[in-house]
Point group: C2
Chain length 148, copies 2
DNA sequence: GTAATTGCAAAGGCTTTGCTTGCAA
DNA sequence: TTGCAAGCAAAGCCTTTGCAATTAC
């Protein structure tokens, strides 16, 4: 298939250029489909929708591109995903720092966060149990590793 | 094996009674082991430690009891685990409400959280990218389901 | 005695990997 | 043309489930 870039593909090609990504048809459709999914879709859900436009696409391609988009800042992970369930017994009021590279979790005392959010106007009868704050960034060890 | 409860088992038996749990040997060791693990262990890591004291224990038992402890409030999940990766494209400043029953995620505008945390005194050279607040509780639908 | 729990093994979901063919620059 | 990407299928975690044997109350 060969054709000159249409007007509609311009912005996507620029987005790819800005993020150092090769502009493929699959990536474009993936991105466009995600724009129509305002929630927090799983790779499987995205796959189902993309498949309507590219029946031959594989789930592995969806995973690969989602990871790439997240890595390049086009998408965000809704919460850091640690590969397996993590539990804790710590009862003191605290939150977490999560390294976006190595996924290491470190406790942070609540008072070190400064002012706390005061929950107000919560939509539709949601009954609050607690809130959890993740400070996301790069830990010292990963910063050191990056520099090398 | 039959013996009268020792002095040391008292607190654990009370803890079980308080949370409506049967006091089994496996549960007690699991709980004691977790008290010596201050971080955020995975079920596998807990299993390895418990196995030193109860070689015959199975990983399935560890999983079952961890879930039970979480359900009864003895342990906490470090972050809500959605079963699969979730991503989003939403660029507006926002955070999330997560239902601890059905794991549904709903966006919440940052301004509806009221005052925001001001990050200060972050331990050991952690380079902050962003922070993510999860308001954890029961959504309206699950509240309704519970009542019935 | 009755109900709940354990251990085992098998099954199930989600995600990644290796490799060949095809496409982008 | 040269390397990056896609598709496919197989493998790899992590976690749950079903069931018989055992234990707690």
């Amino acid at each position: 298939m060969q054709h000159s870039p249409s007007v509609e593909t311009r912005p996507f090609r620029e987005l790819c250029a800005d993020h150092g990504l090769t502009a493929t048809h699959q990536r474009q459709v993936l991105y466009e489909v995600m724009q129509t999914m305002p929630g927090h879709p799983s790779p499987e859900e995205v796959y189902v929708r993309v498949k309507k436009r590219i029946p031959a696409i594989s789930l592995a391609t969806v995973y690969k591109n989602i990871h790439l988009f997240v890595e390049r800042g086009v998408l965000k992970e809704v919460s850091m995903h640690h590969g397996s369930l993590r539990v804790e017994l710590n009862n003191h009021p605290h939150h977490h720092m999560v390294c976006s590279h190595c996924k290491a979790i470190t406790d942070i005392r609540e008072k070190d966060l400064g002012v706390l959010p005061t929950l107000q106007r919560l939509p539709g009868g949601f009954q609050v149990e607690r809130y959890a704050i993740d400070v996301i960034g790069i830990c010292a060890a990963c910063q050191k590793a990056e520099r090398s």
